[in-house]
């Protein structure tokens, strides 16, 4: 049955490849070209070399966005992964030592996983609208209403430039934790029970178990999580656009590169400049992914 192989291969690949080339690969490649021009979308683009990039680094909003990405890149994965590891550890071995010396998960761990994972299926846009009310700066806000009950003055979660970015990162952490709890729990349950038993018999306590057994065996999963969250840290568009005051405010204190790109395209029709930002964003994402893979590479432990 070798006849008709090539027509079949071509027939099956044609539509997906064309679709993908037209809407994905084509635009990605063109973006590098457009980044070297000044273009408002109507007149012919004018070649300006690296001018856009030179301007970029004097652009206050853009440099602010870069700084924000740096903070998000550190805090978002760290907070999410630490909280998720903690909870998945509790869920899987938090029940204490069983009769046989093995570690047990807590009761209702299935229920907790269902609840924790829930925000993951909701749209970021919808969560943005929801948290506008949660963060409202008066006692009618969910959190400030609670703070008022214990006599704490309302916190300006989104209006204070010093904390606005953290409030937004908080929502993303809130949403992401459950995903990693489920991911890590799957990883932990894949670790053979005898490994824990052997360690427990040798007298390892809960914390030794966690740091010396669980963590090293979860390393691969942890690495994947770090990369996912890192890539998410370079996006953040929907949540910042919807949740922050004045889209990236107050005073550019929450803006991100994606939002600056969007603004440049749809408010100022400055397409060359916007593409230059896209190119910078691309290289940042790439550098991050390559570095993470290099730095965190370890010998794989098979079991």
């Amino acid at each position: 049955m070798r006849q008709g192989r090539y027509p079949f291969i071509i027939g099956f690949l044609a539509i997906p490849v064309v679709l993908y080339a037209v809407f994905v690969i084509g635009p990605y490649l063109q973006a590098f070209q457009i980044a070297l021009t000044e273009w408002n979308g109507y007149k012919a683009p004018e070649y300006v070399g690296l001018e856009n990039f030179r301007e970029l680094f004097q652009d206050e909003a853009f440099t602010a966005a870069l700084r924000h990405h740096l903070w998000i890149l550190i805090t978002l994965p760290l907070a999410t992964l630490v909280i998720a590891l903690f909870f998945s550890f509790l869920l899987n071995v938090g029940g204490g030592a069983g009769k046989s010396g093995t570690m047990r998960g807590v009761k209702f761990s299935g229920f907790y996983k269902v609840v924790f994972f829930l925000p993951q299926v909701l749209a970021v846009a919808i969560l943005g609208v929801l948290f506008q009310s949660v963060y409202r700066p008066t006692e009618s806000g969910m959190i400030n209403g609670l703070l008022a009950k214990v006599g704490i003055a309302p916190v300006q979660f989104l209006n204070d430039p010093k904390i606005a970015l953290w409030s937004i990162i908080g929502v993303v952490v809130w949403q992401s934790v459950g995903f990693y709890v489920v991911l890590f729990s799957a990883g932990m349950s894949a670790i053979p029970k005898d490994v824990f038993e052997a360690a427990a018999i040798d007298g390892a306590g809960r914390f030794t178990l966690f740091f010396r057994v669980t963590l090293p065996l979860l390393w691969d999963t942890l690495q994947v999580g770090w990369i996912y969250l890192g890539i998410a840290a370079f996006d953040m568009f929907a949540i910042v656009q919807i949740l922050s005051v004045d889209q990236g405010g107050p005073d550019n204190s929450t803006t991100v590169v994606a939002l600056e790109i969007y603004r440049r395209v749809f408010r100022y029709s400055d397409l060359g400049y916007a593409s230059a930002m896209g190119v910078v964003l691309f290289f940042m994402t790439l550098t991050f992914a390559v570095l993470t893979l290099r730095v965190t590479r370890r010998e794989r432990i098979e079991f």
Binding site: M1, G4, R5, Y6, F8, G11, L13, I15, P16, Y20, F23, V24, P27, Y28, Q30, A31, I83, L91, G94, G96, K99, S100, G101, T102, R104, G105, V106, G110, Y112, K113, V114, V115, F116, V121, A123, V124, A125, I126, V129, L130, S133, V134, E139, S140, W174, V177, K193, A200, I201, G205, D235, A238, I242, V265, L271, S275, G278, V279, F282, A289
Partner: protein
């Protein structure tokens, strides 16, 4: 994954534990264990509340009056008003947006799966010149931020005359879902045994028939996971719809519409209706999630655990 699958206690292990140089004797250890377990529950319960309370609080706000919404956050509505739900349904057109989302996502997920599976199958099972090139072309798409493509994509969509059309939105959803779909399904098709397909060839089935009648049913578990992944990803899309169907309000999809309604609610001073609209966007997803939670969890995490 579950704790219930714990093997029954093995009696021979008990003496070993007693001998272990644990924290002196059995009793304190048992007490410590109980305390630890209690603290575990407390921590887990706190996070569970952190997740649930904002959602419930939003649902409750949909039954309040405007004045109550801007009063104390932690009081229940004096009387439970249902009219905001009616207003949200009528005035904000939420039903229309829900239907739009269902329409767009069902078509785009269907074609994502069809084209993705076709490409992945050929890449995984047929040797031809350029096989690696095609594979890496698809997979490289996972590395690029969508924002890099924003300007040219917008232009391409305009030039093809599909700006502000469902067709444009669906094509773009499919195209941007292909990298991960092809990546995952290629790996999946490689794991399937070759013998069944060979038997089909010997019996005279063509390539196309073998694909649809033999390979697709065999690949079902992988297809289900990635379908779920794509449905949720496309359902929750916000960026693509706001650049591809910005102008024609009748074509908006749910997340895009909710974000806009939230700004107009400020002008109209109708916050209960916004809360009701928000609840209507959340509740269907919640119901589906509760029913299919196991499949959804494994579908969404499929990419990370290989």
């Amino acid at each position: 994954m579950k704790t219930k699958t714990e093997p029954p206690a093995r009696p021979e292990a008990v003496p070993t534990v007693r001998k272990a140089p644990a924290r002196g004797g059995r009793r304190p250890a048992a007490v410590a264990s109980g305390v630890f377990s209690g603290l575990s529950h407390a921590a887990l319960a706190v996070w569970a509340l952190l997740v649930i309370v904002p959602l419930v609080w939003t649902f409750v706000a949909a039954f309040k009056t405007n004045a109550e919404i801007f009063g104390d956050a932690w009081t229940l509505p004096e009387t439970w008003h249902f009219d905001a739900w009616g207003r949200a349904w009528r005035d904000t057109n939420i039903g229309r947006y829900l239907l739009n989302s269902v329409f767009v996502v069902s078509l785009s997920t269907f074609f994502t799966m069809l084209f993705g599976a076709m490409a992945a199958y050929v890449i995984a099972r047929y040797e031809f010149r350029g096989n690696r090139v095609v594979y890496f072309m698809f997979v490289s798409g996972m590395m690029f931020p969508v924002f890099l493509a924003l300007v040219p994509l917008f232009k391409v969509v305009q030039n093809l005359g599909v700006h502000n059309t469902y067709l444009g939105l669906i094509l773009v959803y499919v195209a941007y879902s292909l990298p991960f779909t092809v990546f995952f399904l290629t790996a999946f098709f490689r794991t399937l045994p070759t013998s069944v397909a060979e038997a089909a060839f010997i019996d005279g089935a063509g390539h196309v028939r073998t694909f649809f009648q033999i390979m697709m049913p065999m690949a079902r578990p992988g297809l289900v996971s990635i379908t779920i992944f794509n449905v949720i990803g496309q359902w929750n899309q916000y960026l693509l719809p706001i650049i591809i169907v910005p102008a024609d309000q009748d074509k908006w999809v749910l997340p895009q519409a909710i974000a806009t309604i939230s700004t107009t609610a400020g002008y109209r001073q109708d916050w209960p209706a916004l809360m009701a609209a928000l609840s209507m966007a959340i509740i269907p997803v919640l119901i589906i999630y509760v029913i299919f939670q196991r499949q959804i969890q494994s579908g969404l995490t499929a990419g990370a655990v290989k």
